[in-house]
Symmetry: C2
DNA sequence: CTGTTAGCGCGTTCAG
DNA sequence: CTGAACGCGCTAACAG
């Protein structure tokens, strides 16, 4: 006798001489089922290895227990950590995670959003593409009461649930750290100002200077597009073309920070004594570069977990009081900024 | 009049005064449908924005157009690149990708495999956990004719489709490169020998030495468990405890290579002149460390694409002649090994 | 070439 | 407390 692979509630019903609906109810602890019946059913279900056919459940409920993640690139430290956190939290709660990358292309973002909608994801977590300035492609989710959580790179001019860090404060803290180390000629290697995120980091930078009565050299504020390695090297080189160069550099990501160190060394500068450098994100490369790069820790994994929690809360109508989760970043000081040697007592 | 959000084939059927099955067939270019009818149907479908309800299709076909990916950690350069390639290739073909991480825990691997099975993935791509030495949890897929592709970290003693690199050859090439640079006291920082992958890299290392008549110092072969930063630093330090140390180090991953450089420098060695170092994978950290780390390029993204191709081929019964795809790695020489300065002509 | 019918497996009214 | 019946949306076998 071949063992049956996929048990259905009908199989259990036949075996116990009950109706399928009774099985269905017993299995999900419906109140109107007798304790004895319920026990019998659950016992047999376990014995036979019954598992509900998820596709049937989905069709019936017009909804799949699947969280969609729509981001630009999976293979970037921040996103891969974010996804890792999302996956972990989702699976704990019995949800699946489906991934979709846009390669920072708005057209693909729209297409993929539609696809995710079609498979009836129960919630969407997204970090919008660089090009995204309009949001009608998210309307379909709102119309069908599917929660949408924007994370990290979020729309500034669009209402909705958002999970972010305080980029202004982080920029302020990073810059203040440089100032406390004695830097006075400060520079900033920033990202695209189309993104609120980089605008805020720059704003924090400016405010820190102002609060400490430092003069801002406009030549020392450079904004790139991608802050890739190539671009960052070019930008960093510009900082030193004036012969003197800055004595403190705040890079808006770690690659910018790393490149600032590399270029500074090429110009014969000592890091951190001639020029101190701090990055942003606390990616693994911080510990690889020489000297190790100070950075602002970005809680990517935790952000992922919070996004999942927000989705589940929304589905259960446990609406949070606030639409905004702001996570704190933390200064991770390393040799690239630590000029003042503390004396052990 | 409120616009209907989810059009079904019944809606179209009513509007065109046809039967649902005709619509269904017309939409998928079934041969037995009149050209005129088909044109009408397709036109109206587009006009009304019809999109098939995927959950119904899945239930009907007992299969979801979803590829499952079961790996240890999403947030590792190799895996995030692999997934990126998988996602890209899958979406081009209209497949979704569902991700599941095991955190290198066999129990979780089993659970998640079952979950993926339950949602009726049409194919599985997996890189087994470090602990996995038995494979009954993959049996359910084979029994239901769901293709399983093992990638990178594959079972040595289990038959099935595999996508790998030639770790023996890569190890041989990396080592030969060191030898060609004049290294004679060679060391290897390897990973867990439970994994065929690391065994092969070591075998290549040994063979290269033998082929060049070099003596192998057994103290210079160290194998770790995870080759994490911490572990690699410890291992690398052991190499230099004899006072002299090796003059060439092959690290089985880039972190090991990077740590070898860091430790060598700490011992006052010059890289590459006193000791040349090569890593494995060509992760971003290679270009960050000073001097930049030579490495063996590992085609993660392409491996992902090939895995997807294999799944689709299996589903279409275009069975490949061979169960094994072996991709080539490429030497990426950088300053950490380049002792001989080539003179430009 | 097209229509009718019958499920895929489950959840949920509505009756007993 | 339990069962019968229906339908989620689609596809495929069977008729015509």
């Amino acid at each position: 006798m071949k063992e049956k692979v996929n048990i259905t509630i009908h199989d259990l019903a036949k075996e116990l001489d009950l109706s399928p609906s009774t099985i269905s109810r017993a299995l999900k602890d419906h109140p109107s089922i007798g304790a004895q019946t319920r026990a019998n059913v659950q016992k047999l279900a376990k014995l036979r290895g019954y598992r509900p056919n998820i596709m049937a459940v989905n069709l019936r409920n017009q909804q799949s227990k699947t969280i969609g993640v729509l981001i630009s690139w999976i293979n970037r430290p921040f996103f891969s950590n974010l996804i890792s956190g999302i996956e972990e939290a989702a699976r704990e709660k019995g949800y699946n995670v489906i991934i979709s990358q846009t390669t920072d292309d708005l057209k693909i973002e729209k297409d993929n959003a539609k696809t995710l909608y079609d498979i009836r994801i129960c919630g969407l977590i997204t970090s919008i593409s660089i090009e995204t300035l309009e949001y009608p492609h998210f309307g379909q989710f709102y119309r069908s009461n599917t929660p949408v959580i924007f994370v990290d790179r979020v729309p500034g001019d669009f209402q909705g649930q958002k999970v972010v860090i305080d980029n202004y404060q982080a920029g302020y803290d990073a810059t203040t750290h440089l100032i406390e180390q004695g830097c006075t000629r400060l520079a900033h290697l920033g990202g695209s100002l189309k993104q609120g995120l980089y605008k805020e980091r720059l704003r924090g930078f400016r405010q820190a200077l102002e609060d400490h009565n430092l003069v801002l050299n406009p030549n020392y504020i450079l904004n790139g597009k991608s802050l890739s390695r190539e671009e960052s090297l070019v930008l960093a080189t510009k900082l030193f073309e004036d012969g003197q160069g800055p004595d403190g550099i705040f890079g808006a990501n770690d690659m910018a920070g790393v490149c600032a160190i590399l270029v500074a060394k090429k110009y014969g500068k000592t890091v951190p004594d001639d020029v101190a450098v701090i990055g942003f994100n606390d990616d693994p490369i911080c510990e690889i570069v020489d000297p190790p790069l100070s950075s602002m820790y970005h809680p990517a994994r935790e952000m992922g977990r919070i996004c999942v929690k927000r989705i589940l809360d929304s589905l259960n109508k446990n609406n949070q009081s606030d639409d905004l989760s702001i996570l704190t970043t933390e200064l991770v000081p390393r040799k690239s900024t630590l000029r003042i040697v503390e004396i052990e007592s």
